[in-house]
Amino acid sequence: MAKYKIVHYLNQFFGGIGGEDKADYEPEVREEKIGPGLAMAAALGEDYEIVATVICGDNYFGENLDLATDTIVEMVKKYEPDVFVAGPAFNAGRYGVACGTICKAVEERLGVPVLTGMYIENPGADMFKKDIITVSTGNSAATLRKSMPKIVNLVKKMATGEEILGPSIEGYLERGIRVNYFAEERGATRGMKMLIKKMAGEPFETDLPMPKFDRVPPAEPIKDIKTAKIAVVTSGGIVPQGNPDHIESSNATKFGFYTLEGMDRMSADDYMTIHGGYDRQFVLKDPNLVVPLDVLRELEKEGEFGSLLNYFGTTTGTGTATGSAAKFGDEIGKKFIEEGVDGVILTST
């Protein structure tokens, strides 16, 4: 009996079912190695066994994304694999997206290490390389033999828990994960060398290619402020005394909603700030400096706007990862849309 079990995912073509005419083939599991799995099994040697192969048509997967994912995850679960391998998909777009989707689901739901392979221009590579180790392959199945050693090496490392090194060493597509290492020279020395090359017009390599940010277009103006429902969200770290949800002082991984019901102003007895990036003493004395409830209640009474949502959203905006911030924004936005909020005041510090 082999030490490590592998479940393999293939589309209808590589699974030997048929071409485009069989692309609506429903998920099926076979307890054997098939197609590229034969080469993989041979290269992996006797400590490893492909215990099952799941085959699914590319169109079926694309058109029944949730159902297909659920079904396949259940199929995989039964075999309790040590590693799950999908593809490789080379430059096949639908197949690439299917491999990425199912790998991500297996990893998240079953906690099994996953691996796929794609050509760099496969649309699935762009969608999933950040989340999944995606071995860099050529654009056609003819390159399978070249990518197989990389796949096999990574499968073994995943199965045994050995450290996976950088993308250029292991041959996978860069995920965009920033990992520390001790360079041979200090930053100032590396910077100076880069500058001397740049001034001389010689090629140089930056340590950090500039990221591209999402740009969010501003919302339409509020049509009638007199009836508008307004909410407050702050990155100034205002929380109830004692910080019940343990929101961090820096690099927050969560946000909170807290009540404003029946309050005319933010009382320092009830609210505090846990923000780690500014001198808090003035805000600890008067939290209205950051969540301006006192003024908003006055304006609400005077009829300057319709009504104030009876709770506010809050987190710490210092050292907060953009990924976390985007997630908070999505969740807060969804909730406010449900509440019929027309406008939000964001206060920063």
Binding site: K130, G166, P167, E174, R175, G176, I177, R178, V179, N180, Y181, F182, A183, E184, E185, R186, G187, A188, T189, R190, G191, M192, M194, L195, I196, K198, M199, A200, F204, T206, D207, L208, M210, P211, K212, F213, N243, H246, E248, S249, S250, N251, T253, I274, G276, G277, Y278, D279, R280, Q281, T318, G319, A321, T322, G323, S324
Partner: protein, 429 residues
């Protein structure tokens, strides 16, 4: 301006009945130093302790780290305008430095942004001050002090002790004598006419609310960009007064030992002509950011620079200043390399910087501050571990009963300092 920097190698610190240096050991009169610190009525208690490399000792919360120096000749006093006389200016003549030892100010937290120094263990690899012999000045403030008043008292205590210890080196023959010189602009340009002219854009932390830096005693948020002879910084013209995230805090030690200035001098006359320093700030108002980045670009053009290195202190908000400076200086035709650290979140997947620009084609990474480490329990803690959970890099529940804890390396003083002092870097996986 020409400065001779004499380095006196210090291998150990011992307490004694007077303060002096003998055979590379700094002897310190503990009572005299403690009494001097307590001349400030804002401080209630002070005690000194010594931490040596390799010991199972943790120092926290650390406010600042300072190398003792003394002005031997050439006019001016160390830390001018803040501790020493503001005039005459510094940067000329001869200065002695106690190389290998530091003054570390410690005491209960001012504003969550004070850090940890471990003298051994895994975290020691990330901290420059795990390798120096440290005289820790542990202070206890009077009850009810406003935070900025407490910050100032702690800052002045450290500077006073460093200047006092520096005096012990006044008449000691240095082990190494280094000479640094930068000439007035036309002479300097004429000295190496065939080499590319390089400058250093030094961005000082000036966001305010405990994020301040001082230049000849001036709060950096109150000046407009100016030029500085690089040797002035070696005499303490710039002093840290901030509680910025520990990992990229530019301590007063790091101002005295600015690695970019050091690097520029190493290449000076060989493959570059080092023209000097453009000093600027990181104010929070947009008008200041725009005005001051315009002025930085104007000064770079006026100095005829072919290239500049730019460093920042802090992250997030100052990234906007970094990018404005980069864009505007490049548009004047001067080549730019940025040196900075990264904050891509615990999983390393988020964007490393809060702002970007197309001109930022060359960047030297100083590592990312969000990676986590297991900090072992130590035999001795200088200061207190009461605040670990709320210090930057910690979180609720991160500390264990035995005093070990898990935290992001943000909590380590100067672990990812964004001026290129360390070898730590980040790369894409």
């Amino acid at each position: 301006m020409k400065l001779e920097l004499g380095k006196i190698e210090i291998k150990d610190i011992q307490f004694a009945d007077r303060t002096y240096i003998e055979d590379h050991v700094l002897y310190v009169n503990k009572e005299e130093v403690e009494a001097m610190v307590l001349e400030d009525d804002k401080l209630l208690e002070c005690h000194l302790d010594i931490a040596r490399p390799g010991e199972k000792t943790r120092i926290t919360p650390v406010k600042d780290v300072i190398e003792p120096r003394v002005k031997v000749s050439g006019g001016g006093e160390i830390f001018p305008g803040i501790l020493g006389k503001v005039t005459p200016p510094v940067g000329e003549g001869r200065t002695h430095a106690l190389d290998g030892c530091c003054v570390v100010t410690v005491g209960r937290i001012v504003g969550f942004q004070e850090g940890v120094i471990d003298m051994s263990g895994v975290a020691a690899d990330y901290c420059p001050f795990s390798k120096t012999v440290n005289l820790c000045v542990v202070i206890e403030p009077q009850e009810g002090l406003e935070t900025h008043v407490y910050e100032k008292a702690g800052r002045m205590a450290g500077l006073k002790v460093a200047a006092y210890l520096g005096e012990a080196g006044r008449n000691v023959e240095p082990d190494v004598l280094e000479t640094y010189e930068t000439k007035p602009i036309f002479e300097q340009a004429a000295e190496y006419p065939d080499l590319p002219k390089v400058g250093y854009v030094h961005m000082l932390q000036s966001q305010g609310l405990l994020h301040d830096t001082y230049y000849y005693g001036v709060d950096a948020k109150q000046f407009v960009p100016t030029i500085m002879y690089p040797t002035e910084i070696m005499d303490g013209a710039i002093v840290s007064g901030n509680c910025v995230a520990p990992c990229d805090k530019v301590t007063t030690y790091h101002h005295l030992h600015n690695p970019v200035i050091d690097e520029c001098y190493k290449h000076h006359g060989k493959d570059i002509n080092f023209m000097g320093v453009i000093l600027t700030n990181e104010n929070v108002f947009l008008a200041d950011k725009e005005r001051h980045s315009d002025m930085v670009a104007k000064l770079a053009e006026w100095m005829g620079l072919d290239g500049v290195l730019i460093t920042e202190e802090g992250y997030g908000n100052p990234d906007t200043d970094l990018m404005m400076n980069c864009r505007k200086v490049e548009r004047k035709g001067t080549k730019v390399v940025l040196i900075t650290d990264e904050f891509p979140g615990k999983d390393g997947k988020s964007q490393s910087l809060a702002d970007t620009c197309d001109e930022a084609t060359a960047l030297a990474s100083c590592g990312q501050g969000n990676m986590t480490l297991q900090f072992p329990a130590m035999d001795k803690v200088i200061g207190m571990q009461d605040y670990i959970e709320s210090q930057i890099g910690g979180w609720a529940g991160c500390i264990n009963e035995d005093g070990s804890f898990e935290a992001e390396i943000q909590i380590i003083i100067a672990s990812t300092i964004a001026n290129g002092f360390n070898k730590l870097a980040a790369r894409g996986y």
